[in-house]
């Protein structure tokens, strides 16, 4: 309940950051690796075409360097601007443990505690499952991702998973508030408390405590292995799901796969003071980088989420409907969802949609 006491305690979901100078917002842009740079370029072009009042401060992070200066610069920029749009930064897992994942550093330092992903079946994309509509709320800063490891004896490694009461209460509260705001009916907590009795047991207990304060929303819980099994057979039974970090990773990837793949689902990381938007499944897409075949949908929808966060709802709706129209009605698809279009063709189509739906926006299609 402390979270609702107003002032600096108000979670970002309830308030919106003030407009910057001259009605234009400045947003930090981190291109990342793989397909990140090319997709974010498309976002920037589309924004300038649509005359969106957002300026991007581009901060490059070279993930090949061991020094953390780049990522610290990025963090400072995000602290300054409050909002960021990023591509995924590659982590070379053959580097020594002192080299930490840049994405994780960003999330933990800025305390972006809630990762929200909305997986929804799109009418224009053929998948095995229909009518999937799941919001996943994943704890983003602790759990298995604490990066606390040591080799106690040669050949024996211990990795610590930390679960705290404060963070569990916080994420559970976020999930319930989000459910209420979006008019959702039930929240499912995903855990493995039958095996990790203390850790996940604490998480589950916190969820139950928070649930008692939201009698209008049904709360239930499910063990993570059963959850994945249910997701591939009957995903329609799930509404909002809340879970610790690692299970969130698994469940969000399963759900993204169910609705059509990594190219379609946007993701958002919310903290008390900052918000960072990216693709939902955080893939670098190294093997398709530079080939003009990446699906821009996820990144574009993430940028629309960012616009909504900034309060620029009209622009957000305009771009979102153009993207979804291209996907569902015009049926222009990239290869990952069974089509043959290039990224540029999709972007052109989106620009045409924006042009025709909002003719007061001047700007030739070819620019």
């Amino acid at each position: 309940r402390v979270l609702l006491s107003g002032g600096s305690g108000v979670p970002v979901l309830l308030g919106s950051p003030p407009a910057k100078r001259g009605g234009r917002h400045t947003v930090t842009l981190i291109p990342g690796d793989g397909i990140g740079p090319e997709l974010l370029n498309h976002v920037r072009d589309l924004f300038s075409f649509s005359r969106v009042p957002v300026d991007f401060e581009v901060v490059h992070v070279n993930s090949a360097l061991t020094s953390e200066d780049d990522i610290n610069n990025a963090i400072t920029a995000i602290r300054r601007n409050g909002v960021a749009l990023k591509g995924n930064m590659e982590t070379n897992h053959n580097m020594p443990p002192s080299y930490k994942s840049r994405n994780n550093l960003l999330r933990v330092t800025l305390d972006l505690y809630a990762n929200v992903m909305h997986c929804r079946s799109l009418s224009g994309v053929r998948t095995r499952h229909r009518n999937v509509d799941i919001i996943i709320v994943r704890e983003n800063t602790e759990g298995e991702y604490s990066s606390l490891e040591h080799e106690s004896v040669s050949g024996v490694v211990e990795c610590l998973k930390i679960i705290t009461r404060d963070k569990s209460l916080r994420i559970a509260d976020y999930a319930f508030q989000l459910a209420r705001k979006k008019g959702r009916h039930s929240v499912t907590a995903v855990h493995k408390a039958n095996i990790m009795k203390l850790g996940d047991g604490l998480f589950l207990q916190c969820c139950k405590e928070v649930a008692s304060g939201y009698p209008d929303i049904t709360f239930d819980s499910m063990i993570v292995d059963n959850t994945t099994m249910q997701l591939v057979s009957k995903p329609q039974q799930f509404d909002v799901m809340v879970m610790p970090n690692l299970y969130g990773n698994v469940v969000s990837n399963v759900c993204a796969g169910l609705v059509g793949g990594p190219g379609l689902v946007p993701g958002a990381n919310y903290g008390k003071d900052y918000a960072v938007f990216e693709t939902g499944t955080r893939n670098t897409g190294k093997s398709i980088a530079g080939k003009n075949i990446a699906n821009p949908t996820a990144m574009l929808l993430a940028s629309c989420m960012m616009l909504d966060h900034l309060g620029l709802h009209a622009y957000a709706s305009m771009i979102r409907s153009a993207v979804l129209l291209t996907m569902n009605k015009t049926q222009l698809h990239t290869a990952d969802i069974g089509g043959q279009c290039t990224t540029s063709e999709i972007i052109q189509s989106i620009r045409r949609e924006i042009q025709s739906s909002s003719p007061h926006i001047t700007g030739s299609i070819e620019c």
Binding site: K161, I163, G199, G338
Partner: protein
């Protein structure tokens, strides 16, 4: 998803084709002793006991397989040292016969003793959990071309059970990864692949985040892969595996992974083919011990009513027979079971029919006898 899609960035794993026989098999690192009468173990099952005993007596008679059953209870008891353990008669019998078949066990929540499955695992050092998942013809799911095997390290990892409350409100769980266990499971996985004509082994990990622990697991897998150049070895992040698995499960063949990922992934794969009611499982231990089991729950609501679906336990038994080298019998029972499901005339309720467990079993026995 349109199968004509060209996905240039999907991994170039060669898809296992249907000529792979013996999907339901394990690799037995120890030579079975060649005695005709091999004594078997049927663990005492709670709740679903009646059905299963009936089923096995029926099918032993019809197949004339040279096995003898011994039933033992594995309900935990407190030993003289005060520690919980499985009954000594059970342990003795198991050490003698080495092969076991187990039905569902449920540990009551306030039992006071640790999970019985965990006790079994610790007692016999069951280090590898093998779960073959293949789509069953006649049992329709959204995925009809699954043919993979998940091999899960079963003794350490996240399930070491070591947890502490550091201060009030802060809990730490310890995930343990050791060189020895990682090497052992990797070796088992590659031997399995080689002995069952599998094409590739994929190590599933999260070494980008858990650099030291999963990094160690991965290093061991890579080392072992050096000795098995005939098997293709790949590494993939857990989230990428999940993402790809639900879109296109044909790209996976054998998967090897630590405990928690194995738990999640093996259940995910079971879900792809139709759930735990049709998924068999084998646990391979050190010293030649192997326990095969169905992994579904005890189903107290249908126990004793002759409604249960014995397919999971039956297929586990098929795995067991192959493990022992009784390939002929295994093949007969497997074919009879799949033919029955494909024909769709006699099916239990969860498979879409309304026959009883005994009717289903009788139909399978009849087919086995017809084959002779």
């Amino acid at each position: 998803v349109d199968s004509q899609v060209t996905c240039p960035w999907r991994s170039n794993l060669v898809r296992p084709r249907k000529h792979i026989k013996n999907c339901y098999a394990t690799y037995s690192p120890f030579q079975a002793t060649s005695s005709v009468e091999i004594i078997m173990f049927l663990f005492n099952l709670q709740e679903l006991a009646g059905e299963m005993v009936l089923m096995f007596s029926l099918f032993s008679v019809s197949t004339k397989a040279p096995i003898q059953w011994e039933e033992r209870s594995v309900t935990a008891i407190k030993g003289p040292s005060g520690r919980w353990m499985i009954p000594p008669e059970a342990k003795e019998s198991m050490d003698k016969s080495k092969i076991g078949l187990k039905g569902p066990l449920k540990t009551p929540i306030a039992a006071g003793h640790p999970s019985m499955n965990l006790l079994l695992r610790k007692t016999f050092d069951l280090y590898a959990n093998v779960r073959p998942c293949a789509s069953i013809e006649g049992y329709k799911t959204p995925y009809d071309d699954v043919n993979l095997v998940t091999i899960r390290e079963n003794t350490e990892g996240e399930y070491s059970g070591i947890e502490h409350v550091i201060v009030n409100g802060v809990v730490q769980s310890i995930k343990l990864i050791t060189e020895k266990a990682s090497k052992r499971i990797a070796e088992y996985a590659f031997e399995y692949a080689r002995n069952n004509q599998r094409i590739s082994v994929t190590a599933v990990h999260k070494a980008n985040i858990m650099r030291m622990s999963d990094g160690l697991f991965l290093r061991k897998c890579r080392e072992v892969a050096e000795n098995y150049k005939d098997i293709k070895f790949t590494e993939m992040y857990l989230d990428t595996v999940c993402l790809n698995m639900v879109q296109d499960p044909t790209q996976f063949d054998v998967l090897v992974m630590p405990n928690l990922y194995g738990d999640i992934l093996s259940d995910l794969c079971a879900g792809l083919i139709g759930g735990l009611g049709v998924t068999p499982s084998g646990n391979i231990g050190a010293n030649g011990v192997a326990i095969f089991e169905s992994v579904h729950g005890t189903a107290p609501d249908i126990a004793g009513k002759d409604l249960a679906n014995p397919t999971a336990l039956l297929l586990s038994a098929v795995m067991m027979l192959r493990h022992m080298g009784l390939h002929g019998y295994a093949k007969k029972i497997e074919m009879a079971c799949f033919d029955t499901i494909r024909d769709k005339k006699v099916l239990t309720k969860d498979l879409g029919g309304n026959s009883k467990c005994s009717e289903f079993t009788n139909e399978i026995c009849r087919r086995v006898q017809d084959m002779d």
